[in-house]
Symmetry: C2
DNA sequence: TTGCTCCTCACGTCACGTGAGGTGGC
DNA sequence: TTGCTCCTCACGTCACGTGAGGTGGC
């Protein structure tokens, strides 16, 4: 059972929102301490909250969500979902028109040069991979992600067999650097260890825009921007969670060991690859 | 010069919004009558308002818009636009994920059958066509649209040469039947009459989903839904303004004449085609 | 004791929307 | 006179966010 702060980070919503949903009778903690008033939640409530957020993001009001959320399988609700899907399709169509509008404006007033041409970007396919993963919301990169990786490596060492593949980070928010970023550290494991490690399989990607940098992780956001810039200028769109793959990196190896080729002696030797799933540009209106 | 009601219909915003923008110092009428307080606008203000709406729809606050809108060509503003474009790309990516979410949910709870299979839908290319057009916001179809067409035909007869093609309606809102619908009645003209009629050229469409019905126009919304349903189930998206083409229809022909093949003697003889521009499905993540 | 997390309660905010009560031209 | 459009002003609304003032465990 989790206190509100922890649960809110897992769910990617603010504490205020959770309290508001509680007052609104939309989403309740499993338990409220009668003396302190503390709200307590459990991880099994996450899917429900995600569905609520989905409906809200689709434009339902809180009152509508309150009616729909409990019984998503009622015929009424299915009808509603179908209607919402149509609205969403329309919204995407409108957004694509707005993108064209912006592009027209930017064509007239020439865009300050982006530095995307400096980085070699290749497009390729990324295979699915079984992993042990830990997911959390963090405010800053660095020490926190490091600890999550150390944790994951330790668990793999204790409970199953590691696969000799690079560990990587999944960025589930597409803002890359936001206030609170929803990240998932992934340590590849052998397929047979899936149950022992209670692991999962990360989906493969048909087409991913990939680019590498070496040295400090500070460069990641700029490289990310550069890739998205290039994709945008080609009419392509982001099609899923971004991956940050650690090819050579630092690790303290307490309680586990890694293949030597993954290890770097100094920050200068770090090697990292960004992978952004790409949806190619659809056909355009003449 | 237009009073607020007329201007609001042209622009597709409410009267309340225009008054609010005036008070907020965001968008001012060209003239305010000092005694009655009436606000007056001119059509040349429309592009400015459209830009303001674009920025608002992109997530700018009113305060941001107030700073940006006057000088879209300043380097600051171009930077901002580039940032907004990135945010929009992310929003589209998120919406596509949400669509997949909904599809997953609907797969589990089988969708009540749509009637799209009843209608033969073909996909084809639609050529660009020079027209004389009149655009307005309307609350209901019927008499109002009819009048707009009579108007347009009259103007063409007086000022230029009509092309022997079917007249059609462009639906600029993608909701199809909303409170106020932004429609443009189009009467095809010969290319040489473009200047005489102060006409314009309606863009062609590479791929349009087309289906016909005969008889009363009441069937249009259901057919439209059916086509969009089918598109949605195939992963395709709406790529622009929907067209309603009148193949056989009623007309009083006062002051103009139409080719006989376009005319219907009774509602039963009406023939109408819906054309929805299609963007084919992008590649999917595995 | 400090720092951190949690609480309630009242009020703020953003971009309008609603509605009362009234005017002015056809 | 009726119906339509326009006005102002005050208040409402939606989904939270802010901030004051306070608690409780390490």
């Amino acid at each position: 059972v989790l206190k509100i702060g922890h649960f809110s980070r897992l769910a990617g919503v603010t504490i205020k929102t959770l309290r508001f949903y509680d007052d609104a009778g939309l989403f309740r903690p499993v338990y409220v301490d009668p003396v302190s008033g503390y709200r307590f939640y459990v991880t099994s409530q996450l899917p429900t909250l995600q569905r609520i957020r989905l409906l809200r993001d689709l434009g339902c009001t809180v009152a509508e969500v309150r009616e729909l959320a409990p019984a998503l399988d009622s015929p009424d609700c299915v009808r509603k979902l179908v209607a919402l899907r149509k609205r969403l399709i329309v919204r995407v169509a409108l957004d694509e028109q707005r993108l064209k509008e912006i592009d027209r404006l930017l064509q007239r007033y020439p865009e300050p040069a982006s530095d995307y041409y400096k980085w070699p970007v290749v497009e390729r396919r990324v295979a699915p991979v079984p992993v042990l993963s830990i997911r959390d919301r963090i405010r800053t990169f660095g020490i926190h992600v490091e600890r999550m990786f150390e944790d994951a490596e330790l668990q793999v060492a204790r409970r199953g067999r590691r696969a000799p593949l690079s560990p990587f980070l999944l960025l589930h928010d597409m803002e890359y650097r936001d206030k609170h970023i929803d990240v998932e550290v992934c340590v590849p494991i052998s397929p047979e260890s899936l149950t022992a490690c209670s692991g999962s399989v990360v989906d493969g990607v048909d087409r991913a825009a990939c680019a590498r940098f070496s040295g400090s992780y500070d460069q990641a956001p700029r490289l990310y921007e550069a890739i998205v810039d290039r994709m945008g200028s080609e009419g392509a769109r982001i099609a899923g969670a971004v991956r940050e793959v650690y090819i050579r990196f630092g690790a303290n190896q307490c309680g586990y060991t890694l293949p030597r080729r993954m290890l770097a002696n100094s920050v200068g030797e770090y090697q990292t690859e960004l992978q952004i799933p790409v949806r190619p540009p659809g056909e355009q209106r003449l």
